[in-house]
Each structure stands twice: as structure tokens, then as C-alpha cells.
Symmetry: C2
Amino acid sequence: MPQKRSLETREKILKAATAAFSRDGFDATGVAEICAAAGVSKGAFYHHFQSKQEVFLKLTEEWLSGLDQQIQRLAASAEDVPQALWQTAKIAPAVFADARGQVPLFLEFWRQANRDPQIWQATVAPYHRYTEYFAGMIRQGIEEGSLREMPPEVGARILVSLAVGLLLQGALDPEGADWGTLVGDGVRLLLEGMGANSKREWRSTLDGE
Amino acid sequence: MPQKRSLETREKILKAATAAFSRDGFDATGVAEICAAAGVSKGAFYHHFQSKQEVFLKLTEEWLSGLDQQIQRLAASAEDVPQALWQTAKIAPAVFADARGQVPLFLEFWRQANRDPQIWQATVAPYHRYTEYFAGMIRQGIEEGSLREMPPEVGARILVSLAVGLLLQGALDPEGADWGTLVGDGVRLLLEGMGANSKREWRSTLDGE
């Protein structure tokens, strides 16, 4: 089954690259090193990927698409938009645990994005996508009357920025606070600022618990 | 006047380092390069600074202490805490313009902070300081009755995280949004979520203007 073997090779490369990037950083990791750790030839590597940039982008894509599925599943069962956003915030602790290895890589990529237009494009795409997703939800909340009037993309950018800020601080200073729980607190404060009814079942550390 | 000359040398080094770090990145810039650009000897450099790390930390410190002064000046004239925080948010556009050159360096430093305990300490210190500063303001707001009961440090961490997230996205995608103005919108949403009276004079893009 050559196709199965090819998929296995691809998985081996992705797994070895994840470990090497996390340990040594993106810049310091070479394709040769990834191949050695994965136990594959350079030919096999370049059959699957054009470059280590592409490997990194693929890893990010897989991480984010797993996240998207979780977000959509959590939002689907909610009764209205504030509840959907509040449910979404509940995945934060798990996301933070996952992201601890990823964030230093993001930082490195961000830095490169300042210099390389192609990497820049790939780096900003997820932010745009999440901003559009949350803008759609906020628009729906305004229509259903669960949120007050506001330009939806303004609210969405603020939600995304809060998440980015918490993720980055959480990566820098993991023991400094309960970052995952803070996402819930922050989303709740923003939702209340956006006019969501505060008599909801959203007890959190804001209540001093 | 040897003391004046010594101060001038120090300024020349800081100025040359700022330009070199911004252009080439922190890793890629050597002490020799900074000395050449500043027109000073290595001996003069090491008279003032132990390492390029120290130069960077000094640059950050100067940037932040300028920021602190602005924040305190703006907050001093406010009638209550929500107004003080709203005033503080108004410096954001200027901070964002300043930070555009600094943020790629911060990213690089953050990445190093993940590996070097001394750099880590220097990197997290400003976050702790701002969190304490804003926690103090929120505590005052709760006492004066302009904000509702909550653990002040939770609210403070969320304010700081929002600012960090907006700064980083603003650095990555400067043309993507009016990031400086978004700080005001975000602070306003959080303050309203924290129970601040919404009949204030805080018109912003949230009103569709």
C-alpha cells in the first residue's frame, strides 16, 4: 500500500518537525535535521513539502482546523450568541495547554512575517478568518437582540486581540496566572459591555471564586 | 566636559542600536556593528553597557518610562477611574506609531525569554508592573463605586492582555485596522462590562462613527 506508506512518511515528517521546532526554534532547524529525526530521505521530504516554511504552515493549519471544529461544535448547541461565545471561551484552557509549544514558533514566524511577504500573508490569514467568524456571530447577536448595536468587526477585532494577548502572555509566563480561565473572564466582561444580559449562568473568577 | 561627552557617547550607542535592531533584528546585530554605526570604540561601548542585551533592556526601559509618565499625566486630570482609563486609552494611537519599530524586537526578545531566565525576568517585569498599576486603579474604582465588585487583578490582566494583543496585531498588520482607535473601543467595552456608567462622553467607532 504505497499510498498508506506515503501518508505515514508525511506524518513522521510533521511529528519530527514539531519536536525539532519546539526544541531548537524555527531558524535553527534545518531540513536535514528534520529528515534525520523522522528517519526519511531528503527526497521523501521534498516529495511532500517544498520547504520547512511549508511544514510549519501545515502544522499551523492542522492545529487551527482542529480548533475550528471544536469552536463550531461548542457554538452549535448554544441558545443565543452570548452563550455561544461563552461556550467557546471554555475551550481556552485546553487551547492554552496545546499552544505552549506552538507560541514561541509563532513569535519566530511573526518576526519573519515582518520581512517576507509570503509568510506575512500566511500569518495574517488566520487572524482575518477568526475576525470574520466572530464578526458574523456578533452580527447575528445584534439581529437576534442579544447584543447591542455596534460595528460587528470592531467587536470581533477586540475579541481576537484579547485572545492573542492572553495566548502570548500565557506562553511567556505560564505560571503567572490562570490564563485559560482569564479568557472566560475577559469574554464575559466584553459580552456584558456589548449589552449581553448579565443575569446569565456565567460564574467565573470575576465573582471571586 | 568629559561627563557631557560620556552622555553623548551613550546616546549615540542607543540611537545606533535602535536603528540596527529595527533593520536587522536583535540576533543578527553585533556589538561591532553598533559601534561602527555610532562611531564609537568597543572600549567606549563596554564602558557604558555590559552587552547588547543590556542596550536593548535600556531602550525598552526608556520607552516604557516615557509611557508611564504620559499615562500618569492623563490619569491625573480624570474625575473617576473609568474616565482615567478612558483617557489613558487615548494615548494608544501615538503608542502604536512608536511601537511599530519596537514590536519585532519584542517578539525576538520574547522568544529568547523562553530560553534565558535573565531575559525572561526582564521581559515579564513590565507586564507585572502594568498589571499592578491597573489593578490599583480598578481597586480604587470599586471603592469609589464607579466599577462593580471584582478581583482587581483579574480585570487588570484582561486590560493588559487586550493591549498586548492589539499591539502585536497592529505590528503584524499595520494597515489591517485602525489599531490605536480599537484600544479605546476595547477599553470602553471592558469598562462597561465592569459596570461603568454607559452614559459617558465616550463616543468612538463603536457608535459607527
